[in-house]
């Protein structure tokens, strides 16, 4: 194990747990999406850390690039659905009020 990579490992684990905690803690859909993205960033960092540790840098790079592409598509769909739900008042009252604040 490379000791100089420890900050990367710690940061990725903290990001994953913060994201999961935010996902559980918040009830607003946008906040949940943002927490999910924090967690996703942590997973990206963890993947690259693992790739660097186990000498699979090429595979790790290509995997992370594909993951970023899929995440962008996912964000586009979720945000579009969210805008639709917001305009038609389909969100829960708490989410609606929090977004309008």
């Amino acid at each position: 194990m490379n000791l100089w990579l420890m900050p990367v490992l710690i940061a990725s684990v903290v990001m994953i747990y913060l994201g999961v905690g935010g996902l559980v803690y918040h009830k607003n859909m946008v906040k949940m999406l943002l927490s999910l993205e924090v967690s996703f960033n942590g997973f990206l960092l963890l993947t690259l850390y693992a790739a660097l540790s186990f000498s699979g840098q090429l595979l790790g790079s290509s995997l992370v690039i594909l993951a970023i592409g899929v995440a962008v598509a996912e964000i586009a769909v979720i945000i579009s659905a969210l805008i639709y739900m917001f305009r038609h008042g389909m969100l829960s009252e708490a989410s609606q009020e929090e977004i309008e604040e």
Partner: protein, 159 residues
């Protein structure tokens, strides 16, 4: 690794943790989205310092440049954003962080070239192209995402 580079990596990791905390727990949705963009930048700097230059480029151009900006613009469409920070101090903090990122990456790539194992960009691109199934899945996901987003938006307008 050089102690200076280790310090830069530690600072970037601390910055990433701080920005992720602010993203999750800040009250304003707009500022949470902006902090998510800064988190993406910090992550890109860490990727570059680890030698993944192509991944850092993709992270900045596609993730921060497209996805997070899309979130920021969409959220700001809900309602006019409230300024909870003083804009000048906020700008100074962002500018200082950007300078730190650029300095760290420039230092890592030019001043200490021997310490970083750079992942060859051509080999990564060749690996992705050779495994065509992954590219097909990516194109499928992106086109489905685009069609779904347009369909949802148009459906909202027609009703």
């Amino acid at each position: 690794m050089s102690p200076l580079l280790e310090l830069a990596l530690i600072l970037l990791a601390i910055g990433a943790i701080v920005f992720s905390t602010l993203t999750v727990f800040h009250k304003s949705l707009i500022y949470s989205s902006v902090f998510l963009a800064l988190l993406g930048l910090a992550n890109a700097a860490i990727f570059a310092m680890l030698g993944y230059y192509l991944v850092a480029f993709v992270q900045i151009v596609i993730y921060v440049g497209a996805a997070v900006l899309f979130i920021v613009i969409s959220v700001s469409m809900f309602r006019e954003p409230l300024m909870t920070f003083r804009s000048w101090s906020f700008l100074c903090v962002v500018a200082a962080f950007a300078v730190l990122l650029v300095a760290a990456v420039a230092l890592a790539s030019s001043a200490f070239p021997g310490y970083i194992t750079t992942v060859p960009v051509q080999q990564v691109v060749k690996l992705i192209i050779d495994n065509g199934f992954a590219v097909v899945i990516l194109m499928f996901a992106l086109s489905i995402g685009l069609v779904a987003a347009v369909a949802i938006s148009r459906g909202g307008e027609q009703e």
